[in-house]
Amino acid sequence: MKRLLNVVMLAGFCLLMSERPAHAYLDAGTGAMILQVLLGGIAGAVVIFRLYWRRFLALFSNRRAEDDALDTSKT
């Protein structure tokens, strides 16, 4: 359980790695809402997975496309 929580926290850090500077008007607490999922243990991990799996998949398929393009250029 503890280990899983750490994994969830790590996922949170991974998300932060892509942080961009924000020049926005007042935020309604979006960050706080997402944090509640990160702090939610196993149930939170499931929600995070559902929230982000499409994005991860998209990322993966983009990379595949890029790799393929790279391979083609080599030959």
Partner: protein
């Protein structure tokens, strides 16, 4: 406010939520032990013009004296936070939630916290997150962390902003080492970063979360964790100038007894509705005042003195003495929108007896207030006065004047008595410490 009761108008939506609240088990439990302010649904109060706007009205039991978080000590803010979380846990168990987490929703009956905002309760919509989490961090968690982890009192920060201290500012006040302290990484660092990360998002995250299967269990996990975190927090300062004052032996035993007898005699002359004890230290004389008064508001600028006093009052479940952190040379002003959201100290009820024991020299010499100004202010409160004047022959005044040029010509016994006589009728007068300290009972001029 009408006829000594507090009324609140409810919209159709709020009225439905109130009905749902009264059907829960926790409502009865928390109301019975006084942690929820006594409230009943009533017909429209007489002479109200708002019957078209509101569909129903609540009448609340009156809180003896309204106070604000920036006037509380660490233990009081912590107790208020725990009450907020306990109510939230109890509400979640019955599928209700507190929609906000304002510290102003907690008030005090003596040393006991009481939650006053019934309209904060609403039925939980499945899939919704706890919207009040961020506000809980701003108004409770970050201010408590600042004091527990950095030994910086939260009061000035809370008074400086009606919204409290947010995770982003709190994070900037913390060092790398503080990230290892309980709760900082999760609730301060991560929240500050996520706030920045998602500030300009155009996504409806609330809707996204609902679709991804956000459940009540996630809120419960967070709230239980916060409760454990807050319960463990402690402010560890051990000494301050005034918290040790009683033990310092400024008085011979006989003089201390004379002072106690003087105060007790005046207090017992007739019953008082509200007594203010200004410069109360750890509350020896506030307790005497409480023997003959309905309610005592004990105030001191020394946070640790008030912390100790509150802890002892809280341990005994005292409901008559409210201790507040208040620098009398800079008392709480009116704050918020147009200065109307939070009232200045004097607007919240004036005392019929003010105790001002060994305080004048601090106001005049330490805070540089003119003597006449200070006595005029005391008179403006409208009550009788017990005041102790400490002459320049006293070692305590010597201490205050060290390293200072003595240009306090108005700090003079004769001038003090003249100022006092202009605004009050001087009753009993008694010398202590071989005449270096003088007690007065001064009566308000009707």
């Amino acid at each position: 406010m009408r006829d000594g009761s507090v009324f609140r108008g409810l919209s159709q939506q709020a009225s439905t939520e109130w009905d749902a609240l009264t059907e829960t088990r926790f409502f009865g439990r928390f109301s019975a032990d006084g942690r929820l302010v006594a409230t009943e649904k009533v017909d429209a109060p007489a002479a109200t013009n708002d019957t078209e706007r509101w569909v129903s009205f609540l009448r609340h039991e009156r809180i003896p004296f309204i106070s604000y978080p920036y006037e509380w000590c660490f233990g009081m803010l912590k107790a208020a936070a725990l009450l907020q979380l306990d109510l939230l846990l109890a509400a979640l168990a019955e599928d209700m939630i507190l929609k906000d987490s304002s510290a102003f929703n907690v008030q005090w009956v003596g040393a006991e916290p009481v939650f006053i905002d019934m309209a904060s309760f609403e039925r939980l919509s499945p899939g919704d997150p706890w919207v009040g989490y961020r506000q809980f961090c701003e108004m409770f968690l970050c201010p408590l962390m600042l004091q527990a982890y950095k030994d910086v009192a939260f009061n000035a920060w809370m008074r400086g902003s009606i919204d409290g201290l947010g995770p982003s500012d709190c994070y900037r006040l913390f060092s790398m080492r503080d990230l290892l302290r309980p709760g900082v990484l999760k609730h301060v660092f991560l929240q500050a970063k996520l706030e920045a990360r998602y500030a300009d998002t155009e996504r409806d995250v609330r809707d996204d979360l609902r679709k991804a299967g956000f459940t009540k269990e996630l809120i419960l996990t967070n709230v239980r964790g916060l409760r454990r975190l807050v319960a463990r927090m402690d402010w560890r300062r051990r000494e301050s100038e005034w918290s040790e004052y009683v033990d310092c032996g400024h008085y011979e035993r006989v003089d201390q007894q004379k002072k106690i007898d003087f105060v007790r005699d005046v207090v017992s002359m007739r019953s008082r509705r509200l007594v203010w004890d200004l410069g109360c230290n750890t509350g020896t004389f506030s307790r005497l005042a409480a023997e003959g008064a309905d309610y005592v508001v004990a105030q001191d600028g020394d946070h640790l003195a008030i912390e100790r006093f509150w802890r002892s009052l809280s341990a005994e479940g005292n409901r008559k003495i409210l201790p507040l952190v208040n620098n009398l040379a800079d008392p709480s002003p009116a704050l918020g929108w147009r200065g109307r959201e939070r009232q200045a100290l004097e607007q919240r009820g004036t005392p019929d007896l003010v105790m001002c024991l060994a305080l004048v020299h601090h106001m005049v010499i330490t805070a540089n207030l003119p003597m006449r100004e200070f006595v005029d202010w005391l008179a403006s409160l409208g009550g009788d006065l017990i005041i102790e004047f400490v002459t320049k022959d006293d070692p305590m005044v010597h201490t205050l004047l060290r390293n200072k040029h003595d240009n306090y010509d108005d700090y003079d016994l004769e001038f003090f008595e003249r100022c006092l006589a202009e605004s009050f009728e001087i009753g009993r007068r008694e010398l202590l410490c071989e005449g270096r300290r003088i007690m007065y009972h001064a009566l308000a001029r009707g």
